[in-house]
């Protein structure tokens, strides 16, 4: 058991806990945007932790796990963003406590003729 192994186990543990918390967040939050908030952050860190942790446990796997991790770190926020935008465009209003807290309301994006 070297230092790397301990570090690896620690990372995997943190990772799975955050994966769980992310899923819990998705389950508990009240609307799409808040779910995305919880889901994206926690599952991204969770996945990064798990994957890189495995990479540390098996040093010869490290480079490939790093690639997966980088890819997840780039792609996850993008898909969350696209989902948030899509949800807004089909008319799902975010839950707010006060009325004027939606700065995006009424903003037009340009459409394109195909």
């Amino acid at each position: 058991m070297s230092v790397l192994t301990y570090l690896g186990y620690a990372m995997v543990t943190v990772g799975v806990i955050f994966l769980f918390l992310g899923a819990l967040g998705i389950f508990r939050m009240p609307d799409v945007y808040n779910r995305l908030q919880a889901g994206t952050k926690a599952t991204t860190l969770g996945a990064l932790g798990t994957i890189l942790g495995v990479g540390l446990l098996q040093p010869e796997w490290f480079w490939k796990t790093l690639i997966i991790a980088i890819f997840i770190a780039i792609s996850n926020p993008i898909s969350s963003h696209a989902l948030a935008r899509g949800s807004y465009k089909i008319g799902i209003k975010p839950i707010t406590k006060e009325d004027d807290m939606d700065a995006y309301a009424g903003v037009e994006t340009e459409n394109e003729e195909e």
Partner: protein, 162 residues
């Protein structure tokens, strides 16, 4: 040309990540395939080319990684705090955020960083305005929004991409 070489280098590195081997056969195959893909995508891949690799930028990239990872951890503990709390303490809303960045790639990285950092989620980018869903709106003053949400990234990203 410098863009071409830079793109090729990036692809080749990724290929080595895929194969994790220094076998000459793998390297040659990787070089050939990276070259083919570079040919039709180098124009869209990067605007900077090899100048990306000067030491100052590299240093900033490392710095960015650190800032980012710390922010990511903060974000997650924030989320954890909110999720585990039975009362769900949230006060969500969407705010507009003016960025000073010009390059598109930088904006994208900024948006991604914002999405992954505490309590914020980018909903749209129009021109230089980012619309951000904020889980706990503590202010509506544009200047404070700027400093609260993304200043720390913006400074570094400016160094890297512009």
């Amino acid at each position: 040309m410098s863009r071409f070489i830079f793109t090729f280098a990036v692809y080749f590195l990724i290929w080595m990540g895929f194969t994790t081997s220094f076998d000459p056969q793998e390297l040659i195959a990787g070089a050939v395939l990276s070259l083919i893909i570079t040919f039709f995508s180098y124009k869209s891949f990067t605007d900077l080319g090899l100048s990306f690799l000067n030491p100052k930028r590299l240093f900033n990239i490392v710095k960015y990684m650190f800032v980012f990872i710390i922010a990511l951890f903060k974000a997650n503990f924030d989320v954890a705090k909110r999720v585990i709390n039975p009362k769900l303490p949230i006060n969500p809303g969407i705010v507009a955020y003016k960025t000073k960045l010009k390059s598109d790639t930088a904006k994208v990285f900024l948006a991604n960083s914002i999405t992954l950092t505490p309590g914020t989620l980018t909903v749209d980018v129009i021109g230089d305005t980012l619309y951000i869903h904020w889980i706990d709106v503590i202010t509506k003053d544009p200047q404070k929004i700027y400093s609260e949400i993304g200043e720390q990234f913006e400074v570094i990203l400016k160094e890297i991409f512009e």
